[in-house]
């Protein structure tokens, strides 16, 4: 299953599922990353981590490790 971590810069993907538990998962959802939402990868920081995405109209920074938990 592809995850958000695999997405390329400029690509827009749709979230299929969120893995992870409790607070971390809740935090991601609270920020708008839910099933069915479109996410566009905007940039990747120097050295590859974190990544910046656009979701629900605003910019969000995530670690690659967290992006890994999001199936797209």
């Amino acid at each position: 299953m592809a995850t958000l971590r695999d997405a390329k810069i400029g690509e827009t993907v749709t979230v299929k599922r969120l893995n992870g538990e409790g607070a971390v998962k809740r935090r991601l959802m609270d920020m708008g990353l839910t099933k069915g939402v479109d996410v566009t990868v905007r940039k990747v920081a120097p050295l590859g981590d974190p990544i910046e995405v656009t979701v629900r109209g605003y910019e969000l920074s995530l670690r690659k490790a967290d992006a890994e938990k999001i199936d797209v």
Partner: protein, 804 residues
């Protein structure tokens, strides 16, 4: 009857700005009991009967973070008369997420769409009427920054509170969820007031830990409810919390479709364009380095030094020419006189001999003589003359009387308008009223000497503060956190640890407190412990002093101090992460990047002034008291075995001197085993600026550049001032951890200084064998601590499965 209105909304939505507008200065800021979350309350300016509570910025009412818990506890326990939900118009979708949750509480509510000016500027439109109909409550448009719509909103909020009209949420969830909710309400909640049942039902459905605890539902009811929930989860193929969250967003998506029209945006915003360069993979770090170097070069070496020279040598020194008129001629006259009467062959020969004998500072004096400028000679001689004499190369016999003659014959006032320095003015003034000698010395040598030394650095500080304020306000620093995250994660810290460091570069106290944003307990403790490694504002005078006295004001000294600070944090991070106490997974990092904006001149100035005035205030208070203390300690002592007071007390005989001598051996391996240096370091606990203050009251010690640098590093890394220690104590919430933190910092500082000095000695050719052995041992230990394997698998490689 008092009316209570609560302000709720996302972080960054402009709540605080609105709160300030509504309450003016009628505010009270404290803490919510039991937690370190800020509580703000105030009275409405236009109606003192109305109390407004500014709740912490939250994204949702989940039970996971202290802010959220505090906010929701307030809302369900205190039941304010109305909620004023502030929505960031430029971020509608995500802000409405909270709105749906607030609506379920059943408390009278109105919404205010903030930043409406930005929305309009972007060309977007929000149909607030339609939004209001769909949400089921009034929706106002405001711009807290511009001040529009405030009064109407405030009035409407009060009216809504008075009407007592309970908020009825207009959104519903899908079939099986509603079914489960209905069951839950029936089974357990029917005793609660009607409007509250919905919120509790939803929370129970989500298996909200805190609510379940609070309600104390009997076992069999719980399992009954659990069945319903489990059924729903199976049907939707998701866990309860996610179901609810998804449903909310589905509803919001509909709202957005109906009420929000985005202007077709083609290209990138300006912020994006800037970010493409600033956070570019390869350019970001070099750009950051360059920015920092520029900031420090300008504030320290060029503009800053100019100003600081004036304050140190002029205002708090002998004096200065008004507008600089006449300074050049005056100096020329001095140089001419010196060439004939001070820089004699005899003097030169003696100094050259001292240089050959490797006396500390002799080279500086020789350079000054060769250079021909009396001012340079004066400085070098002031610092190192005594040392020369002590080693048998006394030139004071010729120099001192010559200087006296020069001062008698060449009067600066002849060359321009001469303003005597403050010490001179005060001394003259005191002489005029026949002040007793000791009091005069207390004031001139003690108070003015100490405070003046510190205040002398104010100009440099102000310039620096302006830069830092600008960088913070425009949004650049958020990008830096983003960029630093990867590096930090390698070393066991999250990018969020960078923010406290950044703030710590101003003052360590808020830096330590900023660690609250880190949820992971262990990361938090580690951040608290290492934040004070970064040179704070108070440590700047120390850097400046060493730079000026021993390194000719080299521009690279300050950046090197920061570099060492960051390196110390990273090295500590790695070492500690590998110990049992701190091992664990790195914390998740999710952060919002606000758009760049040009900060207003007023904002930057205000910020600079805030910091500057606190610096000055500190000087006028703590430093003043400490300077008196130091002066007293150095004036009371034993002359010829008799304890007494003397303004001419030799340092070695005074109380302070005795104490200093008793402990200075500790610092000998680090290169600064002199009583004055030891005392200065200890006084650094009171306030870091006091280190400079001590040297202002007592005289600066002759040190080699290497020793000076070692001294600098030790003072930078060792335990911070009492105020910061207090902050550490508060944030750690444990005496044991606080002592550990302090102990760690001092040991680390000692180790680093030891290495710098001993390895440095190697390079200059003076090898201290014993010292070198110790330094090597320390080095080896640190390398081991860095290289050994982690205790737990740090990388998250497995996908964790859902635990229900």
């Amino acid at each position: 009857m008092e009316i209570k209105i609560a302000l709720a909304g996302n972080p960054n939505c402009g709540k605080t700005t609105l709160f300030n507008l509504l309450t003016g200065s009628n505010q009270f800021v404290g803490n919510w009991p039991g937690v370190t979350v800020e509580k703000k309350e105030g009275r409405l300016k236009s109606d003192k009967n109305v109390i407004i509570t500014d709740l912490p910025g939250i994204y949702s009412l989940s039970p996971y973070t202290p802010e959220e818990v505090v906010a929701r506890n307030y809302l369900i326990d205190e039941r304010p008369d109305a909620i004023l939900n502030i929505i960031d118009g430029t971020n509608l979708e995500r802000n409405l997420y909270l709105t749906t949750q607030l609506a379920e509480l059943g408390i009278p509510m109105i919404c205010a769409v903030n930043m409406i000016d930005v929305v309009r500027k972007n060309g977007d439109t929000i149909n607030t009427e339609q939004l209001s109909k769909r949400l089921g409550c009034a929706v106002c448009e405001i711009s807290a920054l511009k001040g529009t719509g405030i009064k109407e909103t405030a009035d409407l909020a009060v009216k809504t509170a008075q009407s007592g009209e309970k908020m009825i949420p207009q959104h519903s969830f899908c079939g099986c969820v509603e079914h489960a909710l209905a069951h839950i309400e029936e089974a357990f909640l029917h005793d609660l007031p009607a409007e509250q049942q919905r919120w509790y039902a939803v929370k129970i459905f989500e298996r909200d830990g805190k609510v379940l605890e609070k309600l104390n539902i009997p076992e069999d009811t719980l399992s009954h409810i659990e069945n319903d929930i489990a059924d729903c989860e199976k049907e939707m193929d998701d866990d309860a919390e996610s179901i609810i969250t998804n449903e909310r967003y589905i509803y919001i998506a509909e709202l957005i479709k109906e009420c929000f029209k985005k202007k077709k945006k083609g290209g990138l915003t300006i912020s994006d364009k800037i970010d493409r360069i600033i956070t570019n993979r390869f350019l970001a770090l070099p750009i950051f380095a360059v920015v920092m170097i520029i900031v420090y070069y300008i504030s320290w070496t060029s503009v800053g030094t100019l100003l600081t020279d004036w304050t140190n040598d002029g205002l708090f020194g002998d004096g200065w020419h008004l507008f600089g008129n006449g300074s050049a001629q005056y100096e020329q006259a001095q140089d001419n006189f010196a060439a004939e009467n001070i820089f004699t062959d005899e003097v030169k020969a003696t100094v050259e001999q001292a240089v050959d004998a490797d006396v500390i500072g002799a080279a500086e004096i020789l350079d000054a003589i060769d250079g021909g400028a009396f001012a340079d000679f004066d400085e070098a001689y002031g610092s190192y003359g005594e040392e020369l004499a002590a080693c048998g190369y006394d030139i004071s016999g010729i120099v001192d009387p010559a200087v006296e003659t020069m001062n008698d014959t060449i009067d600066p006032a002849d060359y321009g308008v001469w303003v005597p320095g403050i010490p001179v003015l005060v001394e003259t003034g005191l002489d005029n009223i026949n002040c007793v000698e000791w009091l005069k010395r207390l004031i001139v040598d003690g108070i003015i000497g100490g405070v003046g030394a510190v205040l002398g650095f104010v100009p440099q500080m102000l310039v620096l503060f302006i830069f830092l304020a600008f960088l913070e306000a425009c949004g650049y620093m958020a990008r830096v956190a983003f960029v630093m995250d990867r590096i930090f994660r390698r070393f066991g810290l999250s990018g969020k640890s960078f923010i406290p460091m950044l703030i710590g570069s101003g003052c360590g106290v808020p830096g330590v407190m900023a660690s609250r944003t880190i949820e992971n307990e262990r990361d938090r403790r580690m951040t608290i412990m290492t934040t004070t490694f970064i040179p704070c504002g108070a440590k700047m005078p120390i850097i400046a002093l060493i730079a000026a006295a021993l390194f000719h004001g080299a521009w690279w000294l300050a950046p090197s101090a920061y570099f060492i600070g960051v390196a110390a944090i990273i090295v500590s991070g790695i070492m500690l992460k590998k110990t049992k106490m701190f091992a664990g997974d790195p914390a998740p990092f999710v952060m919002e990047l606000p758009a760049y904006h040009l900060p207003t001149f007023g904002n930057v100035m205000r910020s600079m002034w805030e910091r500057g005035s606190s610096f000055i205030k500190k000087a006028g208070t703590i430093i003043l008291l400490s300077s008196i203390f130091i002066w007293a300690g150095s004036s009371f002592g034993w002359t010829d075995g008799v304890f007494g007071f003397s303004t001419e007390m030799e340092l070695a005989n005074s109380i302070l001197g005795k104490i200093g001598s008793a402990i200075c051996w500790i610092f000998a391996p680090l290169g600064f085993g002199e009583p004055t240096a030891a005392v200065a370091t200890i006084m650094g606990l009171v306030a870091k600026e006091e280190v400079v203050g001590v040297f202002g009251v007592l005289d600066f010690v002759a040190m080699t550049s290497l020793a000076g640098y070692s001294f600098l590093v030790f003072n930078l890394l060792c335990a911070p001032c009492f105020a910061a220690i207090g902050a550490i104590r508060r944030e750690m919430n444990s005496a044991k951890w606080t002592w550990f933190a302090i102990g760690y910092q001092c040991c680390f500082a000692y180790a680093v200084s030891l290495m710098i000095y001993q390895f440095g000695l190697l390079f200059t050719g003076n090898v201290n064998v014993l010292g070198l052995i110790f330094a090597l041992a320390v080095f080896a230990f640190i390398v081991y601590m860095l290289a050994r394997p982690y205790r737990e698998n740090v990388k998250l490689s497995k996908k964790k499965t859902l635990k229900v």
